[in-house]
């Protein structure tokens, strides 16, 4: 397990008591099988795909290709923990119906907003379509 440096709080007030919003700890298993425990901010309107990209856990151009519109499946991940997640909307459901390597626990990470409920979430990135 690797702990990556948090790109969101580099020289911020993270250690002082001014910050009231919490980060959540998320474990992301990359496409090579390495697990990364990362801090994801709940106060920046981010989604899980953007967190993966900001920690550079998958090469640029292989994840989040459509920008987060549920129009490609490049950010597909498998949910490995029983963390409660927001229900899939129709467009995510439809995209997963045409994606490859889909499992019962597949989600599009761009459709998962980072909220406090995600503490302890474990996901694994699906293989890229090559």
């Amino acid at each position: 397990m690797r702990s990556a440096e948090n790109p969101f709080r580099l020289n911020s007030f993270a250690t002082s008591n001014i910050v009231t919003t919490m980060d959540v700890k998320i474990t992301i298993i990359d496409r090579d099988g390495t697990a990364h425990k990362v801090d994801a901010p709940t106060d920046m309107a981010m989604n899980l795909m953007e967190v993966v990209r900001s920690y550079e856990l998958a090469p640029e151009g292989t994840i989040g290709i459509c920008g987060g519109m549920a129009m490609c499946a490049s950010c597909q991940c498998y949910v490995k923990s029983d963390t409660p997640l927001r229900e899939k909307e129709d467009d995510e459901e439809a995209m997963l119906a045409e994606a490859f390597y889909v499992q019962d626990n597949s989600r599009l990470s761009c459709q998962i907003p980072i909220t406090e409920e995600l503490e302890g979430l474990v996901v694994e990135l699906a293989p890229s379509e090559e």
Binding site: G61, A94, A97, E129
Partner: protein, 353 residues
């Protein structure tokens, strides 16, 4: 051989706007794009989505923005090579370039501007063993000539518009059409879904859902596909067919441009952002989403800016030593290559007696 001043690769918003900025400098442009229509991902992926960060447009639909850009550049008469992918580039002795497409169309220009966005859109290929073995030998990822399938049996896979539309079209051409989709629900236009249901009830389309193709079989040419129903290997069965057409949409790939000797970083082309967005090869520029530099943002508005600076640099290269002064369109108007001239009406000065 098509000759032009600036050869643009990619007909997305950045490529289209380049035509305008080049036109103001009296430089002619020609655009190559792998898709059959201009607009790039705006037309292909999200034509109906609103965009909110185009300066001066509080809200504009992606498709509308493309229409507006086409209107804006019309008088500069850009040439288009659509439905073909830029494949090879050859540098000439005089420093100019010849770019050849996968269909063999040749283009000659002193300046090449790569506005390739995420890359050229290519069909998504399902991960099935041996699928590449039968490419063009019974397996086609797009329908170019429907007549090819006349009186043949065809299996189509997919659940979107193209799978539905081609199933409907080929129902009247092929001897047998089978549509296989992983879900019972289809996400195409409502009338297409209804039409497929009608054709199914008439026995003209065989519908197999929820199911997917798990294997392709044959000697030299495709002979059959293996279909798995309900995600249950025990229900696998083989269906004889002349053709299998997987239609899972398109996804962008940097493609042959990656082999042009350009410096690539993180799937993007490195450029000089302190000056003119030129690549490591003089005369080749990269603008818009396809390039990278410190602080790069993949935004349409940044692509417009990059295109503008790039055209100034291209002008200096094409006309070395020629002085160029920035002219505002509010002052100089826009003189098209088609003889049209747009300009601000002269203000009337009159004294009041």
């Amino acid at each position: 051989m098509i000759k032009t001043d600036i050869l643009i690769i990619g007909a997305g918003p950045t490529g289209l706007f380049t035509v305008f900025e080049a036109g103001l400098l009296k430089l002619k442009c020609h655009i190559i794009d792998a898709l059959p229509q201009p607009g790039g991902q705006l037309s292909e992926l999200y034509p109906k989505k609103p965009i909110y960060d185009i300066p001066g447009f509080p809200e504009v639909k992606a498709g509308q923005l493309v229409d507006n850009l086409m209107e804006q550049i019309k008088s500069f008469q850009p040439g288009f090579t659509l439905g073909e992918r830029a494949k090879d580039i050859e540098r000439q002795e005089d420093g100019s370039f010849i770019v050849t497409t996968d269909e063999g169309t040749k283009h000659h220009a002193p300046i090449v501007a790569i506005a390739g966005g995420l890359g050229s859109f290519e069909p998504r290929k399902p991960p099935i063993n041996n699928i590449s073995k039968f490419e063009n030998k019974g397996i086609h990822y797009m329908v170019k000539d429907p007549e090819q399938f006349r009186d043949k049996s065809v299996v189509i896979a997919g659940g979107g518009d193209s799978a539905l539309d081609w199933s409907i079209y080929l129902a009247d051409v092929a001897s047998e059409v089978t549509l296989v989709h992983r879900r019972n629900e289809f996400r195409g236009a409502l009338e297409s879904v209804d039409r497929v249901k009608e054709l199914k009830d008439m026995g003209k389309i065989k519908l197999i859902t929820p199911a997917e193709i798990v294997d392709v079989n044959g000697e030299d040419h495709l002979e059959s596909v293996s279909i798995r129903k309900n995600n249950n290997p025990e229900e696998d069965f083989t269906l004889e067919t002349d053709y299998f057409i997987p239609l899972f949409g398109l996804s962008p790939k940097l493609g042959p441009i990656a082999d042009w000797g350009l410096e690539i970083e993180k799937n993007a082309i490195k450029v000089d952002n302190t000056l003119d967005y030129q690549t490591n090869i003089p005369g080749i520029y990269a603008i818009g989403d396809v390039n990278t530099y410190p602080g790069k943002l993949k935004l349409i508005l940044c692509g417009f800016h990059e295109a503008t600076l790039m055209c100034q640099s291209a002008f200096a290269k094409i006309h070395p030593g020629k002085r160029n002064v920035l002219k505002y369109t509010t002052v100089g108007g826009v003189a098209g290559f088609d003889g049209t001239k747009k300009e601000a009406p002269k203000s009337v000065i009159r004294s009041i007696d």
